[in-house]
């Protein structure tokens, strides 16, 4: 995918929508196209989180391995969604395993490259942080509501 196409793609996706064209160019410069076969682990818990992924095709399962129970799936992430926030905060380590459920096509962003650009341009850093916070808040709300264990209640 050409850099210009990548910028256009980013502009349509939640974490980057609304960014100025110049900012999209800056962000896109830290990204590269990647693909993974179904069954591949894109990252593993505890490994350095030096990048994050913007999924274009396929689904990714966030898993935690539990001895005796195998992998437990916490969340699934699909096309147009971001996988990975650990690159944003020290100690920059993945908290879960990322398992490709299908063949995945994605844009992988170099986390330290993007952090460096944000450090050098706090306005861009603030814009990106606002956008990522929105996505993180949605994920947190989803997790909180699931903690309520709603479906055990009576209905019907």
């Amino acid at each position: 995918m050409a850099r210009r196409d990548l910028e256009r793609l980013l502009a349509e996706l939640t974490p980057f929508s609304g960014l100025r064209d110049a900012d999209l160019t800056t962000v896109a410069a830290c990204g590269q196209n990647v693909s993974f076969a179904a069954g591949t682990y894109l990252f593993r818990e505890g490994e350095p989180a030096d990048r994050f992924f913007l999924l274009r095709q396929g689904r990714l399962a966030l898993e935690a391995a539990e001895p005796g129970r195998g992998a437990l799936v916490i969340d699934t992430i699909g096309p147009g969604e971001v996988a990975g926030f650990s690159w944003l905060f020290p100690p920059y380590r993945w908290q879960f395993d990322g398992h490709a459920l299908d063949r995945i096509a994605a844009v992988a962003f170099d986390g330290s490259c993007l952090r460096g650009k944000c450090d050098g341009d706090p306005r861009l850093g603030y814009e990106l942080m606002k956008h990522f916070s929105s996505v993180m808040t949605d994920r947190m709300q989803s997790a909180r509501i699931r903690l309520l264990d709603l479906y055990g209640q009576t209905a019907g």
Partner: protein, 280 residues
Amino acid sequence: MYSVGRPDAATEPMLPRLHRVRSTQSDGPDVVTLGLEPEDSQPMSFGPGQFNMLWAFGVGEAAISVRAGSDGLLLHSIREVGAITRALCAMKLGDVVGVRGPFGSGWDVEDGRDRDVVLVAGGLGLAPILPAAWEIAGRRADYRRALLLVGARSPGQMLFRRDLEQLQSRGLEVQMIVDHASAGWSGQVGLVTELVERSDFDASSALALVCGPEVMMRFTARALTDRGVPAGAVRISMERNMKCAIGLCGHCQLGPEFVCRDGPVFDYERMQPLMKVREL
């Protein structure tokens, strides 16, 4: 044969008709489906989303939505949550159950004609949605996109899988999501609202039918309206403590509404302010 259609006029609404249990089936942890046959051989006609009062004699009466009419049997799926539902779930073949109904407004599926329809169900809330889904499947050409979005606690607690597979093969786009799963699950994990956000439908003209626990319906209705579905085009099935089922006793009163008589299906637009009142 039972039919999904216009409900019978309840001539003696307080008088239970005796039905005999002709089939029992476990549909997951704590959920049993009873197939009931009327002793008087008079079949009951019901509308999608309506409910009956099922009487476990000597124990009490509970409001249970009608899941289906199949092979001459009226199907009710019941989750064991208290003394009455425990007694109903423990029924054996040949036992007798009192049935009053059908009651309530039900889903106006016809309203979705020539529009996209989005059915969203959580947990046992799938049972009252299924008659609407089957009605849509039976007249599939009358509707545009038809989505059935289903949430459950885990893959093992995803109810009525056979219905879901059959509805998929009849032209409904069925998507399932669970709160958590083991690695063998190839479906989605997350909240049912995420399916609303990810699905492709024409929000501005869609009709949405939502059934499940009230908190889930609140979040789902919000996700639908955030997508652009008008609040008046979102229908939710409310649940309160129904007793008389004909709007006399007031047990199920929700502000100015009687859930048994005026509902259980309401416009979200009408319910939204009432759902914010914590005492109701």
